[in-house]
């Protein structure tokens, strides 16, 4: 993949210079903290909608989803379809307009209005720690992939990515993040679409792809029959063997059993992400109106329909063209290197960098929002002016960027599983965070003490299950693993959510009801009709 022509480098340079110039141009108009964190509440729906999709799809996702499709088939698409769209539609019409009307800067800030400062600080602390570490991991993941794709030294790739993203995020704030995301979303979709179209042409179009996959399924069944000649009904193709199946059985060999997809992903992780993740929700808080905030989420949901087609299907094409790859994550890069002519390779690399940068800039701006609003303004300088918040916000963003660079270098020699570990860490607190948010917004009897106890109890549950499922632990105890599938993070989130929910309900009934000025911050309370 490193055999790039001059035309490829020109395409890359045009994209990078254009993105940075746009970000810096927007930054010249910033005057207040509200401009930095909420773009002065001036963002149009179409920009937010594209930004939502660009933020959600990182560069590692393009490689990872293509790789998972190569290994397991289209079931990975559930993460973009039923694992996103229903939650986005509900968020669009119920939660997002409500958040916008409250006038908050952060979701934890809303938790203080509904519960107490403890709930706000706890939730914000978890998000800041996660985002700050994830920034370093994303920088490192970017560097590793760029070293493979471009042949760059990893250290140089970390510095280059950090400086490029840092410049426009520090100067331009949320507006720069969102408008550069628009370019990044368009470039990302075009780049992946080119790979899809050329790839499909190579395998005989959609019909050719389907026929080739059916042939592979037959071969897979015959191979497993040979391994287990005594097995029952060994010649039949099960759902688990079908590359295009979306709903897989409970005992699937993949990490995507329907139980995890429906209960863990669609009902918990997805709502937690689209309703409770500061990096996602923040851009809708910057919309011009609550209607525009709703429209942005609906547009994002509409765009989500095509994402698996342009990201996962190339993984299946790679399976047909290059069935001998050892690592599924090489599927997308191999396809690009083998099928795309020079010039178009540059477009794809630009789209890949776009996906990387759009996620990093969002997490950088959002973690700075949390630190500035939930800690500095809340505890150190409650009387800080909007102009001071602009300065502090920029300083905090710079410090977070420096931390991310430091953390990326700290873990550069660690095992590659560090990315998966942090995804699992997110699953630990997303379920409890959703329980806190949903009970707070939908149940008037929920109390602050209940929310804190439930949140902590849910995290402890997830950590306990994770620990008990580690081979070193269950082997030492002489047990079998608690979960039968690979990477059971979807199940951690289900149990963590359920325990948090039960604890919040029980403790809320045991504690004093919150006063009316707190209860008005329920979704169906007075704020539903008014704008703060």
């Amino acid at each position: 993949m490193t055999n790039l022509a001059n035309l490829d480098y020109v395409m890359l340079a045009v994209y990078l210079i254009g993105t940075m110039a746009l970000g810096v141009y927007i930054g010249r108009r910033l005057k207040t903290g509200s401009d930095l964190f909420l773009a002065g509440r001036s963002l149009p729906w179409w920009a937010i909608g594209m930004s939502l999709v660009a933020t959600d799809i990182g560069g590692t996702d393009i490689i990872g989803v293509g790789g998972q499709a190569y290994r397991y088939g289209m079931a990975v698409s559930n993460f973009e379809w039923i694992g996103c769209i229903p939650a986005m539609i509900i968020a669009a019409f119920v939660f997002v307009p409500f958040f916008w009307r409250t006038g908050v800067y952060t979701i934890p800030e809303l938790m203080e209005r509904r519960f107490n400062v403890g709930a706000r600080t706890l939730l914000s602390f978890c998000w800041v720690v996660f985002m700050a570490c994830n920034l370093g991991i994303m920088l490192l993941a970017s560097a590793k992939l760029m070293s493979v794709l471009l042949g760059w030294d990893q250290s140089m790739a970390i510095w280059v990515t950090a400086i490029m993203v840092g410049v426009y995020t520090i100067f331009g704030g949320l507006a720069a993040v969102v408008y550069t995301d628009v370019i990044q979303c368009a470039v990302m979709i075009i780049g992946c679409l080119i790979v899809l179209v050329i790839g499909l042409a190579e395998v005989g179009g959609p019909a050719g792809l389907r026929a080739s996959l059916e042939k592979l399924e037959q071969e897979r069944v015959v191979a497993s029959s040979a391994e287990d000649p005594g097995g029952e009904d060994t010649e039949a193709i099960s759902e688990d063997d079908k590359y295009l199946a979306l709903v897989l059985p409970v005992d699937t060999k993949t990490p995507f059993p329907w139980t995890g997809i429906l209960f863990g992903l669609a009902m918990i992780l997805s709502p937690a992400y689209w309703i409770g993740n500061q990096a996602i929700v923040q851009r809708s808080l910057g919309a011009k109106s609550d209607y525009q905030a709703k429209a942005a989420y609906v547009m994002g949901a509409l765009l989500k329909n095509i994402i698996p087609i342009i990201v996962a299907v190339p993984g299946l094409i790679a399976l047909i063209k290059f069935p001998e790859l050892r690592d599924g994550d090489h599927a997308f890069p191999t396809l690009v290197a083998q099928l795309l002519p020079s010039g178009l390779r540059g477009v794809f690399l630009a789209s890949f960098l776009a996906a990387l940068m759009s996620s990093i800039d969002s997490y950088l701006n959002s973690s700075a929002s949390l630190l500035t609003n939930d800690f500095y303004k809340r505890f150190a300088r409650p009387d800080a002016t909007d102009r001071q918040l602009l300065l502090i916000g920029r300083i905090v963003t710079t410090l977070l960027l420096m931390w991310a660079i430091y953390f990326a270098f700290l873990i550069i020699h660690m095992e590659s599983g560090i990315y998966a570990i942090f995804q699992t860490l997110m699953a630990f607190f997303q379920g409890p965070a959703l329980a806190m948010l949903m009970t707070g917004l939908l149940w008037k009897r929920a109390t602050g003490t209940g929310a804190i106890v439930g949140f902590l109890g849910g995290i402890c549950t997830a950590v306990t299950l994770y620990t008990l499922n580690q081979p070193a632990v269950y082997q030492a105890m002489g047990w079998k693993p608690l979960f039968q599938i690979e990477e059971p993070f979807l199940y951690f989130s289900i149990w963590a959510f359920l325990v948090a929910l039960v604890l919040i309900i029980v403790v809320s009934f045991l504690t004093k009801r919150e006063p009316d000025e707190k209860i008005r911050y329920c979704v169906f309370g007075e704020i539903k009709k008014e704008t703060v």
């Binding site: 769209i85 539609i89 047990w479």
Partner: protein, 77 residues
């Protein structure tokens, strides 16, 4: 074996008994229910307050298209 294993095995075995065709219907049914909810939303919740409502600026239209695409996908695959 611990109580957690017993609970896990019970839940897994129970859910494993449900035919996959029923689960596929469940996935589609959830999307259909969501579509019906969207279609029943009052127009004031889905149209801009200061502009004449049309099918193009009514968010119901686009949410319904999104969900219909999902229903088609999960019905086929």
């Amino acid at each position: 074996m611990t109580i957690l294993h017993t609970i896990g095995d019970f839940v897994r075995d129970g859910l494993g008994l449900i035919p996959l065709s029923y689960i596929r219907i469940l996935f589609v049914a959830i999307l259909v229910a969501l579509l019906l909810w969207v279609l029943m939303l009052p127009n004031r919740e889905t149209t801009p307050p200061d502009t004449k409502p049309t099918w193009a600026n009514n968010l119901k239209t686009w949410a319904a298209i999104t969900l219909l695409l999902q229903i088609a996908i999960y019905s086929i695959f």
